[in-house]
């Protein structure tokens, strides 16, 4: 007796995840339920196929890029810790967190880390630069077959031209931050977790 979910997730683990991600106890247990319901193989990890089984994600033009963000470099499985670490980026920024101990490492859901998450969606080869080619590929994912190569090319050129400040014809993370300084990143990249 007792729920299947809680017997597999120990209290110590919940505490560690709480410290690392900032989620509450009840949020962690509920997200663990969700994790196990996605884990069809029941081996404690999620594969890319497990994510692709979600229809709303499968029809998202950037679905594959988002799924990729959950998997560390070169790995094909993500465990619950990794799952939570990635989801933590989408926690809303709370006021009391802004005044926290300055020596503590930056929380996963800070504005900078949210922007980094978005930056990595564009940065396909993870070399910390968005090249023209990478921008084109992501644009192609978003618009499908509805825009011609030439038009898309000129859009990519214009975007890089506006963002690029050091003339290397690619967008670094700092240049990316500058382009988006007026956007309300906190609101657009946050999900309202309940409880």
């Amino acid at each position: 007796m007792g729920s299947r979910a809680s017997t597999l997730l120990r209290e110590e683990e919940i505490e560690e995840i709480k410290k690392e991600t900032g989620f509450s106890h009840s949020q962690i247990t509920r997200l663990y339920s969700r994790f196990t319901s996605l884990d069809k193989g029941e081996n404690g990890t999620l594969s890319r196929e497990d994510f692709q089984r979600i229809p709303e994600l499968a029809i998202n033009p950037l679905g594959d890029r988002i799924i990729n963000a959950f998997f560390p470099e070169g790995e094909d499985q993500v465990n619950f810790r990794g799952f939570m670490r990635t989801l933590a980026h989408f926690r809303p920024i709370e006021d009391n967190e802004k005044n926290k101990d300055p020596t503590a490492s930056e929380p996963l859901n800070s504005r900078t880390n949210k922007l980094l998450f978005a930056f990595r969606l564009y940065d396909l080869d993870r070399d910390d630069k968005i090249s023209r080619d990478e921008l084109l590929q992501v644009l192609r994912m978003m618009v499908g077959v509805n825009i011609s190569d030439e038009q898309l090319g000129s859009i990519a050129d214009r975007t890089i031209q506006e963002a690029d400040q050091n003339g290397d014809n690619s967008i670094s993370f700092n240049e990316f931050i500058k382009v988006l300084e007026k956007v309300d990143v906190e609101q657009k990249m946050s999900i309202r977790f309940l409880h």
Binding site: E56, I59, I155, T159
Partner: protein, 406 residues
């Protein structure tokens, strides 16, 4: 008296757990009245408009902003945390525990007293209710098998036996709208027991695929007493053949109404998923029926990928009871200028509204199959309109209509 206790105990059990949790200073989580996250109801158009308004732009009419990615990103992660489809294919999560281990997902704080009560429940359900019901079903079905020529009477009697065997407590509403000959009855599908529940109150012709095993035996026995329409799997693919057989049956006014479950698969009774348009193309009167099970007494949903039919029946017969409500809705006909898909959606909306279920456009077939690429292409097309054709920025593009055509 029995049903009084069956309602009282779960509430008491939940209160007991809450009290126990507070005593030990544990977090007790109250499941599922609100969901894990609160989703923003805004559309692609709204969000792109907001992003364009705030982004740093040198042009008067931007074509593409790097910030556009935020919309897809957030929506994608929201669907990873909570999506509308995958949760429909497993048993519904409960607010209060009904003392059945099978329905216990997240009730953790179980005291000794509650365990004792659960143990008593097990004794009653497996030692008393289950043997009583199986013995009843077995004995009566044997004695009535000899009289299969008395078609309609026996049909009803047999179903009443099944109902007693499951202790199904059914409330029928609006019986003046009961399906008549020459029509089609459509209902939302949760379990094979839906058939028993409806057939208990009227005679229907069933439509379905020929099964093997116990289901196959039941199907062959049923055909001997009244005209049912069973298809071989190969025939199902031939839509015209299916439509013809249905059409012929309906045209014959002496034949009973056909019972069809247009979702095509069992859904967990929290939502109604896409209705397949086949039944709505035939052109006869449709009698919609909404069936809603009360999850406090037993979870009626048949998760066919997890349990076989025998295992499922065993679980049903050892639940407290099967309590459900059936609403007969007023008959509907296809209107002028309405195609089969729109008609199907109209009927579906009526059933969902009556039963208090979520009306979804997603296909129940997603239980087993992957979603079609066409839907992703629709999303891409929609976004493209904001990148290139500036005049379409505020056009009201209904992506929902595109999904239902698929």
């Amino acid at each position: 008296m029995f049903s009084f206790h069956a309602i009282f105990f779960p509430q008491w059990a939940t209160l007991r757990m809450e009290r126990g949790a507070k005593e030990k200073n544990h977090h007790l989580y109250k499941p599922y009245s609100n969901g894990i996250i609160a989703k923003e109801p805004s559309s692609l158009e709204q969000e792109i408009h907001e992003l364009r308004g705030s982004a740093n732009s040198l042009r008067s009419e931007p074509e593409f902003e790097m910030a556009d990615i935020f919309y897809f990103c957030r929506r994608g992660v929201e669907s990873i945390v909570d999506d509308e489809v995958t949760k429909r294919f497993s048993a519904q999560e409960l607010e209060s525990w009904n003392l059945l281990t099978r329905s216990n997902y997240n009730f953790r704080h179980i005291s000794v007293r509650l365990s004792a009560l659960w143990g008593l429940g097990v004794l009653i359900r497996y030692g008393f209710l289950l043997p009583l019901r199986s013995e009843f079903a077995l004995w009566h079905s044997v004695s009535f098998r000899l009289r299969t020529y008395l078609s309609e009477k026996v049909h009803l009697i047999c179903y009443r036996i099944c109902v007693r065997a499951l202790t199904a407590i059914i409330t029928y509403h609006n019986r003046e709208n009961k399906p008549k000959n020459g029509g089609i009855c459509v209902a939302n599908h949760t379990t094979p027991i839906d058939v028993i529940i409806l057939a208990n109150d009227g005679c229907y012709s069933m439509v379905g695929q020929v099964h093997g095993g116990l289901m196959g035996i039941i199907q062959r026995a049923m055909v001997k007493s009244s005209p049912h329409i069973w298809f071989e799997r190969s025939e199902v693919k031939d839509r015209h053949h299916v439509a013809k057989r249905l059409g012929d049956h309906v045209a014959d006014k002496t034949k009973q109404p056909i019972l069809i479950f247009p979702e095509g698969t069992c859904i967990n009774n929290t939502s109604v998923m896409m209705f397949k348009k086949g039944s709505f193309e035939i052109g006869c009167t449709v009698y919609p029926v909404a069936i809603k099970y009360d999850p406090r007494f037993g979870d009626a949903f048949w998760n066919s990928s997890k349990f076989g039919i025998v295992n499922y029946l065993l679980r049903m017969m050892s639940s407290w009871a099967i309590v459900c409500s059936v609403w007969y809705l007023p008959p509907m006909n296809r209107e002028e200028g309405e195609d089969a898909v729109q008609f199907a959606n109209r009927v579906k909306a009526a059933i969902a509204a009556q039963g208090g279920l979520v009306d979804l456009l997603w296909d129940g077939g997603l239980k087993r199959a992957k979603v079609k690429d066409a839907f992703k292409e629709e999303q891409q097309k929609l976004y493209s309109k904001f990148v290139v054709n500036k005049t379409c920025l505020f056009e009201n593009i209904c992506s929902h209509r595109c999904i239902s055509k698929g």
